[in-house]
């Protein structure tokens, strides 16, 4: 994780609270999230973890899309992962997860997720889909 992560999460929190960013539920079957790139290879995000239904969110800002992906696996508590990708990128990048050692990052990521969950309105989401925003 790089040092921009804390600033990124803080900015996402600020813009979500001021309603500049309106998050939508992310439907896993839409395959909008590109494979994750790390230093060695590109791998599918779902390789090891199972997505939790109806618990992931995404938002687009200019040409950048942010994803909050909720996953679970056999031996860990449910995790939230923050992925970022751009329209032109071939892969997505993992910025933060809730199981890393830096407690300031994990607590702020959980805080962001709680805000997104609280602000999410399924009716507004449906209306936005209907009018094609």
């Amino acid at each position: 994780m790089n040092e921009n992560t804390t600033l990124l999460i803080a900015k996402l929190i600020e813009r979500t609270k001021s309603q500049q960013l309106i998050w939508d539920k992310y439907n896993v079957s839409s395959n909008l999230l590109k494979p994750e790139k790390n230093d060695f290879f590109v791998q599918n995000v779902s390789s090891y973890d199972a997505f939790i239904d109806e618990a992931s969110y995404c938002v687009t800002y200019l040409d950048t899309t942010f994803f909050l992906i909720a996953t679970s696996n056999f031996y860990k508590n449910p995790l939230v992962k923050l992925y970022v990708q751009t329209d032109s990128s071939r892969s997505s990048k993992l910025y933060a997860t809730t199981d890393e050692d830096d407690i300031s990052v994990t607590s702020e990521l959980k805080r962001l997720y709680n805000i997104v969950e609280s602000f999410y309105d399924p009716i507004d989401d449906s209306v936005r889909s209907f009018i094609g925003i």
């Binding site: 050692d101 407690i103 994990t106 607590s107 702020e108 805080r111 709680n114 609280s118």
Partner: protein, 132 residues
Amino acid sequence: MLSTIADILGILSFLLSIFVLIMSHSVFKYVNSQKQEYDDERTQLQSSLMALRNNIWKDNLTGIKTRSKLRTELYSYLQKYWKISSPLCLFHIFRSIRICRKDYNDTDKEKLCDSIDYLIARFNKKEVHQNE
């Protein structure tokens, strides 16, 4: 007659001592495994409570969703670790749960944050594991 009773009581107290020794050994093992599990999970619990404290205090999220999440965290802690919790820790957990049961005013909100602050600080502390 009295000596026979004394002999029987002596045998019974010997058997009771062995029973208590076995039981205390298994309780000791259980508490140690609880402490180990707590140490593995405490940073997750701590970060969840920090997030919820900021949601309540800074983001003003006081709705049912946030309160329910906080209660779930506290109940799951209680289910797992009440045996190794101090009375003060249990007091703050129950106070938080009680405040979360209804809509709260600013005074209650401050009390709630006070209790969560105590629990966050509590989770800084590692448990001491004694050798068997």
